[in-house]
C-alpha cells in the first residue's frame, strides 16, 4: 500500500466520521462546527481528486459561506431564546 | 424559436425583479402572451416538419447540451403556456394591492415557467437536474411567499421532499455518467441498449423514485395536500396543473427514452408504478371525500388524478398509450387549474375555507360554481370532456391487453370523483344560513376560472389534433 493511498484512506475515514458527528452531536453548535470541518476535509478530498477548482469553491462556499449561514442562524436562535 | 421559450420568461422575471416589489404585471402579461404564441408556433412547426433540435453553443451532444422538441415536449409546452396566461390574469385580480404574498410574485412565476419550459426541452440528464432545481425552488418560494406559520411549515415540508427527490436523481445521473461517460439522452439510448451493468439499474431506480417523490405519487404524496391546499389560489392552481406534471414528464421521458431497453426487458417493473398509481386513486379520492376544507378537497383530488398517470406504464408498449396519458395530463391540468381558481373565488367570497361554508353560493356566484362543476365533469370523465376521452382511451388500451384491473380502477376512480364533486355542488345549492354574507368578487376571477373549465371540456372535441401532435417522435 502506497503512502498516498494510506493518506486517502485516513482522509476518507475522517470525512465519514465528521459527517456522522455533524448529524449526531447532541449540541447544535458542535454539530455545525463539525459540519465546517467536514467541508474543509471535502476541499482536501477535491484536491486529491485533482479538482482544485472544486476545492477552492468548496472551501469558500461549501464550508465558508454555508458554515457562516448556519452559525448565524444558530446565533439568532440563541438570542431569541434568551 | 424554442430557445426563446426559455429566455423570455427569464428576461421578464429579471426585469420584474428590477422594477421592484409588487411590480411587473404588464411585463409578465406581455411575456406570457408571446410565450403562448411561441409554443403554438413551435407545435405547428413540429407538425409540419418533424422534431426540432438546437445544439446550445453550437457544439452538439455529448460535448455540449442539446435541446430537443418533439411532439411530447411541444404538447407539454403548449399546456403550460395555456394554463399560465389565464392564471396570470386571475392572479392579477386575486392579489390585493400590498398583499405580502405578491411582493415578488411575478419574478417567481417567471423563473418557474423558465424552469418548466427548459425541462420540457432538455435532452441532457444533468441539465434536467438544474431545471428541476429551478422549478422546485421557485415552487417552494411561491408556496412560502408572505405566508403565515402554516404556509411556511408546508413550504419547508415541500422543500425537503423536493430536495431529497432531486438529490436521488442527481446520484442516479452521477452513476450514469460514471458508467457511460455522457449524460446526453440521445447518446445514452443506444449505449444502454447495448449493455447495462447492475449499476445502471440502480441509477434508473434512484432517478425514478426521486422523481416520483417530486410528483407526489402515493405514498410520497404527504407533502402535496398541505402545500397545494395552503398556498394562495393562483399558486395552488399553477402547481397542481403543471408543476407536478413536470417530474412525471421526466419519468416518462426516461422510461421511453434512455431506459426503454430496461423497461421492456423487465415485465414486473412496469407494474410497480401502476400499483402505486392505483393506490393513489383510491387513497386520494377517499381523502377528498372526507376533507372538511375546500382547498384540501381539491388538493387530495390532485393526488388521486396523478395516480391515473402512472397506470400507463404497463400499457406503454401499445400504440396510442402516449396519447392517452397526455390527454389525461391536459384534462387534469386545465380542469384542476379551473377548480383551484374557482375554489379561491368561493373562499374569497364566503370568507371561509370549508365545504360546509359554501351553502348559498349557487345563487350568488353562479359562474364560479358552474366553472367548478364543468371542471368536475372533466375530472369524473363524462362526455364530451377531455377527461372522458382520456379515460376512454385508457380503458380501451387496458382491455385490449386484458388488464382488467386497470380498466376497473379507471371506472371506479371516476365514480369516486363524482362523489366529492357532488359533495361540493350539493352544499352550494343549499339555502344560505341566516346572517351569512357573500362578499362581491372581481368578475375577472369568475370568468378566468370559467374559461379554463370550458377549455377542459371543449378539448374533448378537438382531441385529434393534440393526439396527432403527441405522435410525432
Amino acid at each position: 500500500m502506497s503512502l498516498e493511498f494510506i493518506f486517502d484512506l485516513l482522509l476518507a475515514l475522517a470525512m465519514v466520521w465528521s459527517a456522522w458527528r455533524s448529524l449526531s452531536a447532541s449540541r447544535l453548535d458542535r454539530a455545525i462546527v463539525m459540519f465546517i470541518v467536514f467541508g474543509l476535509l471535502m476541499a482536501l478530498a477535491w484536491a486529491r481528486l485533482s479538482a482544485p477548482d472544486i476545492g477552492l469553491a468548496e472551501a469558500a462556499i461549501g464550508a465558508g459561506l454555508t458554515g457562516a449561514l448556519l452559525l448565524d442562524a444558530y446565533g439568532a436562535l440563541k438570542r431569541r431564546e434568551a | 424559436m424554442m430557445v426563446w421559450l426559455i429566455l423570455l420568461p427569464l428576461l421578464w422575471a429579471s426585469f420584474a425583479f428590477l422594477l421592484g416589489p409588487g411590480r411587473g404585471v404588464w411585463l409578465a402579461m406581455a411575456g406570457l402572451l408571446a410565450q403562448l404564441w411561441l409554443a403554438y408556433a413551435l407545435a405547428e412547426e413540429i407538425v409540419a416538419s418533424g422534431v426540432a433540435e438546437h445544439a446550445v453553443g453550437g457544439w452538439g451532444a455529448p460535448l455540449g447540451i442539446d435541446l430537443v422538441a418533439d411532439g411530447l415536449s411541444a404538447a407539454m409546452l403548449l399546456l403550460t403556456q395555456c394554463v399560465a396566461l389565464p392564471l396570470a390574469v386571475y392572479a392579477s385580480a386575486y392579489f390585493k394591492r400590498d398583499d405580502p404574498a405578491a411582493t415578488y410574485f411575478w419574478p417567481l412565476v417567471g423563473f418557474l415557467l423558465a424552469g418548466l419550459n427548459a425541462l420540457f426541452l432538455s435532452a441532457d440528464l444533468f441539465n434536467s437536474y438544474v431545471t428541476l432545481e429551478l422549478l422546485g425552488l421557485a415552487a417552494v418560494g411561491l408556496v412560502a411567499a408572505g405566508g403565515g406559520a402554516q404556509q411556511i411549515a408546508s413550504a419547508l415540508r415541500y422543500l425537503f421532499a423536493t430536495l431529497v427527490g432531486s438529490g436521488a436523481y442527481l446520484l442516479g445521473v452521477a452513476l450514469i455518467y460514471g458508467t457511460y461517460g455522457t449524460v446526453s439522452t440521445v447518446t445514452l439510448t443506444p449505449l444502454i441498449g447495448a449493455g447495462a451493468p447492475d449499476l445502471v439499474w440502480i441509477a434508473g431506480g434512484l432517478m425514478v423514485v426521486g422523481l416520483m417523490l417530486k410528483t407526489a405519487l402515493f405514498p410520497f404524496h404527504f407533502w402535496l395536500p398541505p402545500a397545494h391546499g395552503g398556498a394562495p389560489a393562483p399558486v395552488s392552481a399553477l402547481l397542481s396543473a403543471v408543476v407536478v406534471k413536470a417530474s412525471f414528464y421526466l419519468i416518462l421521458r426516461l422510461w421511453i427514452g434512455p431506459f426503454s431497453s430496461l423497461t421492456v426487458a423487465a415485465n414486473l417493473v412496469v407494474w410497480l408504478p401502476a400499483l402505486l398509481g392505483m393506490l393513489a386513486v383510491f387513497w386520494g379520492s377517499y381523502q377528498a371525500i372526507r376533507a372538511e376544507r375546500l382547498k384540501m378537497l381539491v388538493a387530495y383530488s390532485t393526488v388521486a388524478q396523478l395516480g391515473y398517470l402512472f397506470l400507463i406504464f404497463p400499457l406503454l408498449v401499445s400504440a396510442g398509450a402516449l396519447q392517452a396519458v397526455i390527454m389525461q395530463v391536459f384534462a387534469h391540468g386545465l380542469a384542476k387549474a379551473a377548480m383551484f381558481a374557482a375554489a379561491g373565488t368561493l373562499i374569497k367570497a364566503t370568507g371561509q375555507d370549508t365545504v360546509a361554508g359554501l351553502a348559498g353560493v349557487a345563487e350568488r356566484l353562479p359562474v364560479t360554481l358552474f366553472a367548478f362543476g364543468l371542471a368536475g365533469v372533466t375530472l369524473m370523465g363524462l362526455p364530451p370532456s377531455s377527461g372522458f376521452l382520456a379515460k376512454w382511451q385508457l380503458i380501451e388500451l387496458a382491455l385490449s391487453q386484458q388488464y382488467w384491473v386497470i380498466a376497473f380502477v379507471v371506472l371506479v376512480g371516476g365514480l369516486l370523483a363524482a362523489v366529492y364533486v357532488f359533495r361540493v355542488l350539493r352544499q352550494a345549492f343549499l339555502l344560505a344560513p341566516a346572517g351569512s354574507v357573500v362578499m362581491p368578487v372581481p368578475r375577472t376571477l369568475e370568468w378566468t376560472a370559467f374559461v379554463l373549465a370550458a377549455a377542459s371540456v371543449l378539448l374533448g372535441l378537438r382531441g385529434v389534433e393534440l393526439m396527432q401532435l403527441v405522435g410525432i417522435t
Binding site: F5, D8, A12, M15, V16, A19, S22, L23, L28, F35, M42, A45, R48, L49, S50, A51, D53, I54, A57, I61, G62, L65, T66, L69, L70, A73, A76, L77, R80 | F126, V130, E133, L137, V140, A144, G148, Q150, I152, A153, A155, L156, R157, L159, F160, L163, V164, G167, L170, L171, V173, A174, L175, Y177, G178, G181, F222, P225, A291, E292, R293
Partner: protein, 100 residues
C-alpha cells in the same frame, strides 16, 4: 482500488447517511446539515466514479461546481424558511399532525 474509487465509495456512504438524516432528524437546522451531507456524497460519486481510471475529467468537475452553487442556494432558502418559522411559532420542528 484507486483513490478515486475510494472517494466515490465515501460518497455513497455520505449520501446514504444524509438521506437517513433527512428522514429521521426532526430538528430543522440539523436536517439542513443532513441535506448538505447528502449533496456532498452525490458530488463525490460524480467526480470519483468518472475519474476511476485516474484521468482528470473537467466535465463532471464543472457539474459539481454548478451543483455546489445550487446547494448553497437551497441551503440559504431552507435557513430563511426555518428562521421565519421560528419567529412565527417558536418551533424548530414540523409537527406530524398539521396536515389537516
Amino acid at each position: 482500488m484507486t483513490g478515486e474509487l475510494l472517494f466515490a465509495s465515501v460518497g455513497v456512504i455520505l449520501f446514504a447517511l444524509g438521506v437517513a438524516g433527512v428522514l429521521l432528524i426532526g430538528h430543522l437546522l440539523r436536517r439542513v446539515l443532513a441535506f448538505n451531507v447528502m449533496g456532498s456524497g452525490a458530488f463525490l460519486v460524480l467526480v470519483g466514479l468518472a475519474q476511476r481510471n485516474g484521468i482528470a475529467d473537467p466535465v463532471p468537475q464543472a457539474m459539481v461546481l454548478t451543483g455546489i452553487v445550487v446547494a448553497v442556494a437551497a441551503t440559504a432558502l431552507a435557513l430563511a424558511l426555518v428562521r421565519r418559522l421560528y419567529v412565527l411559532t417558536g418551533k424548530l420542528e414540523l409537527s406530524q399532525d398539521d396536515d389537516e
